[in-house]
């Protein structure tokens, strides 16, 4: 190797070491810059994805297509398509209305956000949302989705990238640990997902149940609220099977949230940020964290 190459190699190693020693704040600034640059493309990609999905769903209506092809003319086809579009708008309207009602009812300070990028990471199950530090979102804030009168846990904020973006670590990831319990039971354990983001909807593992645990397939698994991060009674999934070990038991849990279809989600703000939010109305069906329980998570370690 020539002297010239050795000098370049040493410079490269020096720069590499320097970069790996960056403070989290410096990393945050770099990532914010990258996100500002790429944000229009991320949004465009998300919109394109949505359009393609919408096209797919329309073409997957064989009955409608058969009707169109059978006898009716072109005008009638157009009208049918308009009706389909109106139905979709109505469904979306209902969904948003439901979300709004949920937000008004919830005692927690919630921020409505939209998913703008899916699975950006190769090894982690994550999504990017369109709210960040300007909306009061902080690291480890729980992210939920309304499911009727209840709420399902989507994951937690793993990183806030600037004022308008944050990364959500999904419940299906191995590193998203939730203290959970079986509904109508005292059995508690730790729920987590799968390593490697190999599939979007992997089964979750509920570990550290007692060896006498009894779980019926279909039984709901909810957050216990005993941890410091997540409120109690958030829906996590349903038991698929239970295996008893020598010292403990482990249940396989199917997640309740469809992580493929995430569009509008809510971030629960920590108590100190909640003061800035509009006053909350009557309690929802899930309980907020108790005042003694710190809602704000511990800050990420700073070197």
């Amino acid at each position: 190797m020539s002297r010239f190459n050795i000098i370049f190699l040493l410079t490269f190693i020096g720069l590499l070491i320097w970069i790996t020693l960056f403070q989290p704040s410096a990393v945050g600034r770099i990532q914010t810059g990258a996100m500002v640059f790429l944000r229009p493309f991320i949004k465009a990609s998300n919109e394109l994805d949505g359009s393609i999905n919408a096209l797919g769903s329309e073409s997957l209506s064989p009955a409608q297509l058969r009707e169109k092809l059978s006898a009716v003319g072109q005008d009638r086809d157009r009208l049918k398509l308009e009706v389909i579009q109106l139905d979709e708008l109505l469904a979306e309207n209902n969904q948003l209305r439901q979300a709004l009602q949920y937000r008004e009812k919830s005692p927690l300070a919630l921020v409505a956000t939209r998913v703008i990028s899916r699975k950006p990471s190769h090894w982690y199950n994550t999504v990017v949302i369109d709210k960040g530090s300007s909306a009061g979102v902080v690291v480890d804030s729980p992210v939920i989705i309304p499911m009727g009168d209840e709420a399902g846990l989507v994951g937690k904020i793993s990183e806030v990238i600037g004022p308008d973006s944050a990364v959500v670590l999904l419940l299906t990831d191995e590193m998203c640990l939730v203290s959970a319990k079986l509904q109508n039971s005292q059995e508690q354990g730790i729920l987590n997902g799968q390593r490697g983001a190999i599939s979007t909807l992997p089964n979750l593992k509920l570990r550290y149940l007692s060896k006498e645990a009894v779980a019926i397939p279909g039984q709901k698994v909810i957050s216990s609220g005993t941890g410091e991060l997540f409120p109690a009674n958030l829906i996590l999934g349903e038991v698929v099977s239970l295996s008893l070990g020598i010292i403990d038991a482990e249940a396989v849990v199917k997640p309740s949230v469809n992580f493929d279809d995430l569009v509008d989600v809510f971030v629960i703000l920590p108590a100190d940020r909640a003061k800035d939010q509009p006053a909350a109305a009557p309690p929802a069906r899930f309980a907020p964290p108790s005042p003694s329980e710190p809602t704000a998570p511990p800050a990420p370690p700073v070197p």
């Binding site: 190459n5 790996t20 996100m35 493309f41 190769h122 190999i198 599939s199």
Partner: protein, 197 residues
């Protein structure tokens, strides 16, 4: 110099296109790693110092966009201050795989692309495998499943499939810009393929 600027532009463009590339659930969550493929194709065409420069820029941009700061359990107790995959780690991976692929530069110059195409896939898979092993090391348990191998294999395959087009593009651009792909080892021997280097 123009050629290097063009390569940097291509890498930047690949970051934008990468945003539009889907994840294939049917292929165990694998995807086309276009940025990796473009970098590795460029690494075949440039000398060692330029490859290191490209590795630095590409790795930094990749981490700026895709780095997820997940902290291992020990971090909660103040024992560790770095995330599972440290910021900047991708630069090292790009540097390593770039150095590896530099070994097939003479073949690329001769127009023999079989091995470079294979190596682009291999190096993409290798860098992902190293990332996975680092994550596993941090979590204290190695979980190797069939699905994981499929994910790595499919990702490597996608990179290999796109690489002939990238290599063709690079060689055409190099011709048009009158850029000659030189290799130092061959320069010393003065006997390679009868060409005057």
């Amino acid at each position: 110099m123009k050629f290097f600027a063009l390569l940097a532009g291509m890498i930047l463009l690949s970051f934008i296109i990468q945003e539009f590339l889907p994840v294939f659930d049917w292929a165990y969550g694998s995807r086309l790693m276009l940025v990796h493929a473009v970098f590795l194709a460029a690494a075949v065409a440039v000398p060692f110092p330029a490859m290191l420069g490209l590795a630095l820029v590409t790795g930094l941009l990749w981490d700026a966009r895709y780095h997820v700061p997940i902290y291992p359990d020990e971090a909660a107790f103040g024992m560790l201050t770095q995330s599972e995959i440290p910021f900047g780690f991708t630069i090292l991976l790009f540097g390593l795989t770039g150095a590896l692929i530099q070994g097939v530069r003479p073949l690329f110059r001769r127009g023999r692309w079989e091995l470079p195409v294979f190596m682009i896939g291999l190096c993409t898979g290798l860098s992902l495998l190293i990332e996975y092993l680092v994550i596993s090391f941090q979590r204290g348990g190695l979980e190797i499943s069939v699905e994981l191998w499929w994910k790595l294999l499919m990702t490597a395959l996608f990179s290999s499939l796109i690489s002939p087009f990238l290599l063709l593009l690079l060689s055409r651009v190099a011709d048009r810009m009158r850029y000659r792909i030189r290799t130092e080892g061959l320069k010393r021997r003065h006997t390679y393929d009868g060409d005057a280097l």
